[in-house]
């Protein structure tokens, strides 16, 4: 490692204030930081020693995503790798450019956005759509607000939302059947479980959903892996358990209640199934179908865009869950996870404000 260290040390002067490459200083520092711990030390107190900085934080999220990433490559082929590559390249470019112009550090937050974005797209999404989406998400979702830690909305979801409304046909027809890439046919498209349930009242069995037999967004099909990754995140305290658990619970309860009152879609002439058991199954299907699990475990609990107060986290999760089911059952859209999280993101500052002002009402008056 000695020669590598010397290489960094010898090229450092070029990136200092008067150097020729001063514009690219953030890029140089980011690359150096990958290999060596920065020599900077805090001069004054408090001297907090904690190994969990942003970089480790983000690394843990990526470790938790590994089952989903591997499963998506197994189901949908090496295409997914290409999508991830494009997402990292384009998004990273925007990130580096902004860091250079603003003369700030390059934050590792992008590593998570860059991997989440391809995982929530339909597996057959063209690569240029991936590029446009991730550019838009990082640019308008994050950098415009001031970069990592200042964004109001989840950048990956902003990108997904933009490509959904910009290219509706591409984003609603790219559902490749899992495993189809190994067959002779180029790509076999297959309706998602949520679409089947809404239009034909066909409910995919729970066991199929768990191991990822039906189609869906690249990263959302292998539900077992998402659950394992989500629990890992909660155990390591990287994600706070309150948001995902209240989200998932409220989805189940909401769907169960709607099911009890006869809101289950039915096929053609036959009467809608009703009763306690049917409602329970409808709740379970809503909990596991679509992208609720992925959204709750990896996107809603983003510490930047969800409330920081404890009651706020519950309110946020319940709001997401209720909105998701409402959009699924009553709107023209098949899936409501993306919309519900973005809508609740917008309410996050308000929720925190109300919670804080209620808690400190007495203190303010005195």
């Amino acid at each position: 490692m000695k020669w590598l260290y010397n290489l960094f040390e010898s090229s450092k002067p070029h990136f200092e204030k008067r150097g020729k490459l001063a514009f690219f200083k953030p890029l140089f520092e980011a690359i150096e930081f990958i290999f060596f711990y920065p020599p900077a030390r805090t001069v004054t107190g408090p001297h907090v020693r904690d190994p969990l900085d942003i970089k480790r934080y983000m690394t843990i999220v990526i470790v938790a995503l590994l089952p989903s990433i591997c499963a998506s490559i197994y189901f949908f082929g090496p295409r997914i790798l290409l999508m991830i590559l494009v997402s990292y390249a384009v998004g990273g470019l925007v990130e580096v450019l902004f860091a250079c112009i603003r003369k700030t550090e390059i934050h590792e937050g992008f590593f998570v956005t860059g991997i989440l974005f391809p995982l929530i797209l339909p597996p057959a999404t063209p690569l240029w759509v991936v590029a446009v989406g991730v550019f838009f998400g990082v640019f308008f979702g994050k950098e415009v607000f001031g970069g990592t830690g200042h964004n109001i909305f989840n950048p990956a979801l902003v990108g997904r939302l933009f490509v959904t409304i910009a290219f509706p046909t591409i984003l609603t027809t790219g559902w490749t059947a899992p495993g189809a890439w190994r067959g002779a046919a180029d790509a076999v498209s297959q309706a998602t479980p949520m679409a089947l349930a809404k239009t034909q009242a066909v409910f995919t069995p729970v066991a199929d959903l768990l191991i990822g037999i039906p189609s869906g967004s690249a990263g959302e099909t292998f539900r077992l892996g998402i659950i394992i990754g989500g629990i890992f995140l909660m155990l390591t305290r990287v994600s706070n358990w309150r948001v995902p658990i209240s989200y998932l619970a409220s989805v189940f309860v909401m769907a169960f209640v709607i099911g009890l009152f006869g809101g289950i879609p039915s096929a053609g002439e036959s009467a809608a199934p009703s009763g306690f058991a049917a409602a329970f199954n409808f709740g379970l299907f809503n909990l596991l179908g679509g992208s609720v699990l992925f959204g709750a475990m990896f996107m809603a609990c983003d510490p930047v865009t969800s409330p920081f107060t404890v009651p706020g986290k519950f309110i946020f999760g319940i709001g997401c869950g209720v909105l998701t089911v409402l959009i699924r059952v009553f709107s023209g859209y098949v899936e409501g996870v993306m919309f519900s999280i973005v809508i609740m993101n917008a309410f996050t500052p308000l929720i925190d404000h109300i919670v804080l002002s209620m808690r400190y009402r007495g203190a303010e008056a005195s």
């Binding site: 308008f140 933009f162 910009a166 290219f167 046909t169």
Partner: protein, 209 residues
């Protein structure tokens, strides 16, 4: 070409302010509604900016000529009447000679009356300055409005419809960006435009009070 030789010292300053430094859209954020609504196609943008420039010039001439005899208590009503007369002319001309464009622009032609740029310039400039300067100011502001609209419209028409002035310019297999055809999509384009021009012109954001 030197602006000072052309218009004199005061005139050059007026033109510069109108076109760039005190740009009506990016600096004063006036006339945003029509910039969002009418900038989906280049031909609409041309018609709209021509209409606004015409009304601006008409208002500039009439208000600056009458500036000494307009009682200050009723000046706003006088502006309104002048602007409304100009807008009616534009509306009828469009209906008679360009019915398709008139149809496409719908209520936005009569709504030129409420375009804050015209009202704002009348109150801020025409009523205090001689006719020659007012004319220059009207032209500069109208051009600034026009080129902004055109810039946004060119971007939006290419991306949202794949055409420019109705002629296909994009390669085969082009997928339209549906979102940019809607006014909501114009917010992104206009926002970026404001950001870039404000940074270049050095406009300071309003201080927090």
């Amino acid at each position: 070409m030197n602006l000072k030789e052309l218009f004199g010292k005061k005139g050059a300053k007026t033109v510069k302010n109108g076109i760039w430094r005190e740009h009506p859209i990016s600096s004063a954020t006036l006339g945003i509604c029509s910039a969002l609504a009418i900038s989906n196609k280049v031909e609409n943008a041309i018609a709209m900016s021509a209409g606004v420039i015409f009304v601006l010039i008409l208002t500039a001439i009439i208000i600056s000529l009458l500036r000494k005899i307009i009682p200050s208590r009723v000046r706003i009503i006088i502006y309104m009447i002048t602007i409304a007369a100009g807008v009616t002319i534009v509306d009828l001309v469009l209906k008679a000679y360009f019915p398709i464009i008139s149809e496409a622009m719908g209520p936005y032609v009569p709504l030129i009356i409420t375009n804050c740029i015209i009202m704002g310039r009348a109150e801020a400039f025409f009523v205090q300055n001689p006719t020659k300067l007012s004319l220059l100011d009207a032209l500069a502001n109208g051009l600034a409005y026009g080129y902004t609209l055109m810039a946004i419209a060119i971007f939006r028409e290419i991306f949202a419809f794949g055409t420019l002035l109705g002629v296909r310019v994009t390669p085969a297999g082009w997928v339209d960006w549906v979102v940019l055809a809607a006014p909501a999509g114009a917010f992104f384009v206009l926002g970026t435009f404001l950001w870039v021009t404000r940074t270049l012109a050095g406009v300071e954001p309003p201080k927090k009070s």
